[in-house]
């Protein structure tokens, strides 16, 4: 059996832990650059604020109902996420962190005879230790666990725990879930299924296998199997590290010079390289993209991306930067107002499995590696990017817009939560 543990309205819940005034109030958290809504408290949902709504379009609602607005504070959310995961791992050793607020846990090897009680205990413990409310769904496969989680949240929000350990419970969940809410069914398949008379997950489970294979390919078939209780989605052990690493962000304002785009690319490349070194991987390819703001109809639009082979697999900031700049030279066009770029490093392999290039010597490799180790060590002590590549510069014009940022309560001595002694 697999449990999916999911933090409820996670970013909002994090803000609420440290500010008791937010209790029972409508609260929303905005994406980077305060663009659109990415988390809502239940009260905000009731006001009709949609996920993904651009913040400028809901200004009236915000003012009228006194909605509390926050910029995303990833330093806080990341730390709180690590705390939640740590508490869960004390109960269940085999886990797979799926996202910042979701974790799969393999509960099949545990000796608990009552999984519902275990789930309740985990939920209570996470709440007590971190203040974050979670929902828990347990079922035979990942896809069913996702559905069970959603079912728990919707049908009994206070308990928010559901274990699909008997057939009638599984049937309940399948009949309850519309196909569009099945994990792995996108907009297109949702329409296709509806058109063919499949409206609930139960309908979909009954669809002829041959038809599913023909219309929805292997992915659709896999989802159907998972819903039938046959596990098809493999378990990703966390020790393996990520296969791709991406850093991308929108700019705080529109950027019109190549130099500023270069700064951003350099910063993102440096961040990707750091993450590579942290998980002991090297990248074989690098992908760079630039784009203009598609919401500004009055502007000329441009999007371009390119992937380059990096020759010898590497995790050196300097080497990756060489290729990132080359990629940018190819795709950059002057005369546009850019609002987003990103860098992705791909085809990762373990750092100890790299081979030397044709014209390299072992000592040049070792020297580059030693430099990066020193850079990481200095930055760890003196702060992020104190030592940086020159291309990053120190101008921060394109940096994030975060007008409603809360404190970094758990990671900075200067930002600790204040308690009144008066």
């Amino acid at each position: 059996m697999i449990a999916l543990i999911d933090c409820n309205n996670f970013y909002v819940s994090c803000e609420r832990v440290f500010d008791p005034k937010l209790k029972r109030k409508p609260v929303i958290v905005l994406s980077n650059n305060d663009g659109c809504v990415i988390a809502r408290s239940d009260e905000a949902k009731e006001l009709g604020i949609e996920m993904g709504a651009p913040s400028f379009m809901i200004n009236d609602l915000i003012r009228k109902h006194g909605v509390e607005v926050y910029s995303s504070n990833y330093a806080l959310y990341g730390d709180m996420s690590a705390r939640v995961m740590k508490v869960i791992k004390e109960f269940i050793p085999r886990t797979e962190i799926y996202s910042i607020d979701e974790i799969f846990a393999d509960v099949s090897s545990l000796t608990h005879n009552n999984l519902t009680d275990l789930a309740k205990e985990i939920k209570e413990s996470v709440m007590r230790c971190t203040g974050i409310p979670v929902s828990i769904g347990i079922a035979a496969t990942k896809t069913l666990a996702k559905l069970a989680n959603r079912y728990a949240k919707k049908t009994s929000p206070d308990e928010a725990v559901f274990c699909a350990d008997e057939d009638w419970k599984i049937q309940d969940i399948l009949a309850f879930t519309e196909v569009k809410n099945i994990w792995g069914v996108g907009e297109q398949y949702h329409k296709l299924l509806n058109k063919n008379g499949f409206h609930t997950a139960a309908d979909f489970v009954g669809a002829p296998q041959a038809w599913v294979r023909k219309e929805m390919a292997v992915v659709g078939l896999r989802t159907q199997q998972e819903l039938r209780g046959i596990a098809c989605i493999e378990w990703h052990d966390e020790s393996k590290g990520k296969k791709n690493i991406c850093t991308s962000r929108g700019f705080g304002k529109l950027i019109t010079t190549k130099r500023e785009v270069q700064q951003a690319i350099a910063t993102f490349t440096s961040s990707c390289a750091q993450k590579l070194r942290k998980q002991n991987s090297c990248a074989q390819r690098i992908h760079v993209f630039v784009q203009t703001n598609i919401h500004r109809k009055e502007d000329d639009q441009y999007f371009h991306s390119i992937s380059l082979d990096v020759g010898v697999p590497t995790n050196s900031t300097r080497e990756l930067l060489k290729y990132a700049m080359k990629a940018l030279d190819i795709i950059y066009r002057p005369g546009f107002k850019y609002n987003k770029t990103g860098v992705m490093v791909m085809d990762l392999i373990p750092a100890n499995q790299t081979q030397l290039g044709l014209f390299e010597t072992g000592s040049s490799r070792a020297k580059e590696k030693a430099t990066m180790v020193a850079v990481d060590a200095i930055n760890k002590v003196y702060g992020c990017d104190v030592v940086r590549v020159a291309k990053q510069e120190f101008n921060t014009k394109w940096k994030l817009r975060q007008q409603h940022l809360s404190k970094r309560y758990t990671t900075r001595f200067s930002d600790l939560m204040k308690v009144k002694a008066r």
Binding site: P20, A82, V419, A421
Partner: protein, 128 residues
């Protein structure tokens, strides 16, 4: 470096150190102050109502959120939308939040109050 012996693991050019086999790891203050790291939070005290409990203005209090508060313990609590630090005392006439300074009043908790224990104070850090 991982064993916390970075100050002591030097290689002597002449004789090996007789202390080599007896090295203790350095004092680990993180482990001392954070028995349960996932549930430990540091907070900053504002005000002097807890001075008699050795918690002055601007000190840092280390809070363990996983503990259930024993009677007479010092807690961080949310009271009517505010974070406060007080003694939590259970008596025959109910639950009380008591200051540790005569200048301040005790608060008897009633049903109408929006009250919850946020965590239990475990340590105080005071810069001298």
């Amino acid at each position: 470096m991982k064993n916390g012996n970075e100050l002591k693991t030097v290689a002597y050019a002449g004789f090996p150190s007789p202390a080599d086999d007896y090295l203790d790891p350095e004092l680990d203050f993180n482990a001392y102050f954070r028995k349960n790291p996932a549930a430990t939070v540091a907070v900053r005290v504002k005000g002097d109502s807890m001075v008699d409990a050795f918690i002055p203005h601007n000190s840092i209090v280390i809070v363990d959120r996983s503990l259930r508060p024993p009677n007479n313990s010092i807690v961080i609590a949310t009271l009517n939308g505010e974070n406060v630090i007080k003694h939590l005392v259970r008596t025959v006439d109910g639950l009380w939040l008591l200051p540790a300074n005569d200048k301040y009043k005790s608060v008897r908790l009633t049903e109408e109050m929006d009250f919850a224990v946020w965590g239990v104070a475990r340590h105080v850090i005071i810069d001298l």
